[in-house]
């Protein structure tokens, strides 16, 4: 009898353990989403310098060929010297997507999110819909100083939600020496571009020893956009719930990408997952041109032993060009305690001071987002020495809007999926873009 009793007790304990787990984890999951944010704020509306020591986490991605980690550590040292009570822990978290997933998972896991993070400028709606970020309040001088194009992705509902940090644009880098040897001018239309790429492709029997062009397409929407814009129709418009994937001009742009390999034999066939290798390939002579981010300029200049040309992407008709802005902004996370958010904003302001913005641009190739940065001595000296930096900035004048709509993660996924199917020849550009349009519209439906 006694045995039974003990067994019974044991089973009850086990059951209680189970039930406890049940009770909580079942549908109650999201209840305590961001308790920390509700904590009573400091008595005064957060003043510049919190006196208590505070440690903030700063999640950032590395997406270009530049020593971002070392540069950021340098800034943190300066910042901490100026603000002794603040400690910044920079956490390199992979690519842009990885940073966003990591932060959202942390919130989801019930942990305090990092106080700040660098995520895609276009992640705005996704972050707002998830109620993950706090609005920020840049000074009026700053707002007057920043390039308006870079602030486009920060405004929503009458507020500013992020500040530009590592902003870039799509450009084409080319080996100017090869162009000169072959007597070819830098292209100014699709036709002359394809012809140049074809002429610069070198074959040894069947084996290609140098491609005319490398055009990465592992994560393709961004690099594709200049083709669509150059063709006459961007894939995104004014509305945050509308896309133009199946427009005839967009389809033509898809076809042009395919033609670069199919018709001109100037590019490897199919999707090219070579974002990382492309700059090295240009430097080592494996290709004559690459389409890449302005953020890779400095890294490229370090590697090349030839004259490096930089230009916007040629448009379809002669004399037209196209580009698209990109890159990451600084966001302040709502789930972090007030004092950490305040400290994070302090660091964000520090990072966006004119000299620092200029310095970051010089060290990486990212485009400085402030007018005043171009008036600093350091920047002037740099531009005199590296004229290509001027070219990257000039690419901006040809830029259309980067893809930013509601439910971006899903819409972008759909677009990638079908764009890659077209690139890989699994579907015709018409079929692929029509399917992408239908699915994207369905994904946007609930946001209209």
């Amino acid at each position: 009898m006694q045995t039974r009793k003990i067994v019974f007790v044991v089973m009850v304990i086990l059951l209680i353990g189970l039930l406890a787990a049940c009770g909580s984890t079942a549908p109650a999951e999201p209840a305590t989403q961001e308790p920390v944010a509700e904590e009573p704020a400091a008595e005064e509306p957060v003043v510049e310098e919190p006196s208590e020591p505070v440690t903030i986490e700063f999640f950032y991605p590395v997406a270009v060929d530049a020593p971002i980690a070392a540069i950021i550590e340098g800034y943190i040292d300066t910042f901490e010297a100026e603000n002794p009570h603040i400690t910044v822990e920079a956490v390199f978290s992979g690519g842009y997507g990885d940073v966003q997933t990591a932060i959202m998972t942390a919130i989801d896991g019930g942990a305090e999110p990092p106080a700040m993070g660098v995520m895609l400028a276009t992640a705005l709606y996704d972050l707002i819909n998830a109620d993950a970020i706090s609005p920020v309040s840049p000074s009026d001088e700053y707002l007057a100083d920043v390039f308006p194009a870079f602030l486009d992705n920060s405004r929503y509902d009458g507020k500013i939600w992020s500040v530009p940090f590592q902003r870039s644009a799509v450009v084409m880098y080319y080996n100017a020496d090869l162009f000169e040897e072959a007597g070819i001018e830098p292209p100014d239309s699709w036709d002359s571009w394809a012809a140049a790429a074809q002429a610069l492709t070198v074959r040894d029997g069947a084996e290609v020893t140098r491609w005319g062009i490398e055009y990465p397409s592992g994560w393709p929407y961004w690099l594709f956009q200049p083709l669509a814009i150059g063709s006459g129709q961007n894939i995104v418009g004014e509305s945050d719930t509308e896309v133009f994937f199946d427009d005839p001009d967009v389809i033509e742009a898809v076809q042009f990408y395919i033609d670069l390999s199919e018709e001109y034999g100037a590019m490897a066939a199919g999707v090219q997952g070579i974002w990382g290798q492309a700059p090295t390939d240009l430097a080592t002579g494996l290709t004559a041109m690459i389409v890449h981010s302005t953020g890779s300029l400095t890294g490229l200049l370090d590697q090349v032993d030839f004259e490096l040309g930089v230009m916007p992407i040629p448009g379809q008709t002669a004399g037209t060009f196209a580009s698209v802005p990109g890159g990451g902004n600084i966001y302040i996370m709502k789930g972090a305690p007030e004092e950490k958010q305040a400290a994070a904003w302090l660091f964000a302001e520090f990072l966006t001071e004119a000299e620092r913005v200029a310095d970051f641009s010089i060290q990486t190739g990212y485009i400085a987002s402030l007018n005043s940065s171009y008036k600093t001595d350091a920047m002037k000296a740099y531009l005199a020495e590296v004229p290509q930096a001027e070219d990257t900035k000039n690419a901006l004048q040809y830029a259309g809007a980067e893809l930013m709509v509601q439910n971006l993660g899903e819409v972008r996924n759909i677009f990638h999926d079908y764009l890659q199917r077209a690139y890989n020849g699994e579907m015709t550009p018409e079929e692929a873009m029509a399917a992408a349009q239908t699915e994207a519209e369905a994904a946007l439906e609930i946001f209209k």
């Binding site: 787990a21 984890t25 986490e57 971002i68 992979g94 290798q277 430097a283 494996l286």
Partner: protein
């Protein structure tokens, strides 16, 4: 055991040379990836690889290791991995020994059903349950801790079953003698069951360590900070560095840093590693 298998084979000399060549060729091919990584990790980063030029550079350098070490806190990752692996193994050794002993030594009501319930874990591996387990960890308030990485593995169906099988092979007369002498269950376990089954525990321990040293997905989602992150989750950041230029030398160095401790231990204890597998009755 290995000896005296088929001594006659000695005669077939051409056949033997042929067999040797085949074995060596395949073995060599199999080793190329790691050999390459080893060579590449000492290649100067300033010498990008190109067609037909992917092995040695103009000189050997440690710079890649130094740079990799500076880009991520590998020492902290290393400590985390060791702590996690030790935690898992320590608890597992206790739980599986006790459970294996219970199932092997006693007959009790419901033992079959309970064994079946535990064995479900073999068929539905913990990895597949990461979604609900994530919620559980959140409920337990363990997110972003090393314990969170380890705790789902504290009970091991595989280990419990393995120990049960091993204990069942312990000769009856020994057990009976012990029982007659009035030994307590603890003494029975300690002095009669455990000594002959140590190799099985070692083999289980080795596969447990290897498995958890290498685990990636669960630690990736259940941690956010370097304070809890193990080596594998740290390494993946470097593969993202693939996005910032083809720094193969640096990547190789980072890869080897992560793999090295277990790898070196393996090289030293190679024979024991494999022998304990071979003789553990893991079959």
């Amino acid at each position: 055991m290995q000896l005296s298998k088929d001594g006659q084979r000695r005669r077939w000399n051409t056949k033997k040379i042929f067999a040797m060549l085949i074995t060596w060729t395949i073995a060599l091919l199999w080793a190329v990836p790691v050999l390459w990584a080893l060579v590449a990790s000492f290649r100067p980063a300033s010498e990008p690889m190109g067609r037909g030029d992917v092995w040695f550079g103009s000189m050997l350098t440690l710079d890649n290791y130094i740079k990799a070490w500076s880009l991520a806190p590998f020492d902290r990752y290393f400590i985390n991995t060791v702590v996690i692996v030790t935690m898992v193994l320590g608890v597992q050794l206790v739980t599986i020994t006790l459970a294996g002993f219970a199932f092997a030594h006693y007959e009790f009501r419901g033992s079959k059903i309970l064994l079946f319930v535990i064995l479900l874990q073999l068929m539905i591996p913990t990895t597949a349950l990461l979604v609900p387990n994530f919620s559980t960890i959140r409920f337990l308030n363990l997110y972003d801790t090393r314990l969170a990485i380890a705790i789902p593995y504290f009970g091991s169906a595989f280990g419990a079953f393995l120990m049960r099988q091993a204990f069942l092979e312990v000769p009856h007369d020994l057990v009976d003698a012990g029982t007659i002498d009035g030994a307590s269950w603890w003494q029975l376990l300690r002095h009669i069951y455990l000594p002959p089954t140590i190799p099985v525990l070692v083999a289980f321990g080795i596969s447990s360590v290897a498995w958890h040293w290498n685990e990636f997905l669960w630690p990736l989602i259940i941690t956010k900070s370097d304070a809890a992150r193990p080596l594998t989750a740290g390494l993946v950041r470097f593969t993202q560095l693939g996005e910032i230029g083809a720094q193969w030398s640096l990547l190789s160095a980072a890869t080897l840093i992560v793999a090295a401790p277990l790898f070196i231990a393996f090289l030293f204890f190679q024979r024991r590693f494999i022998e304990s597998f071979v003789h553990s009755g893991l079959k």
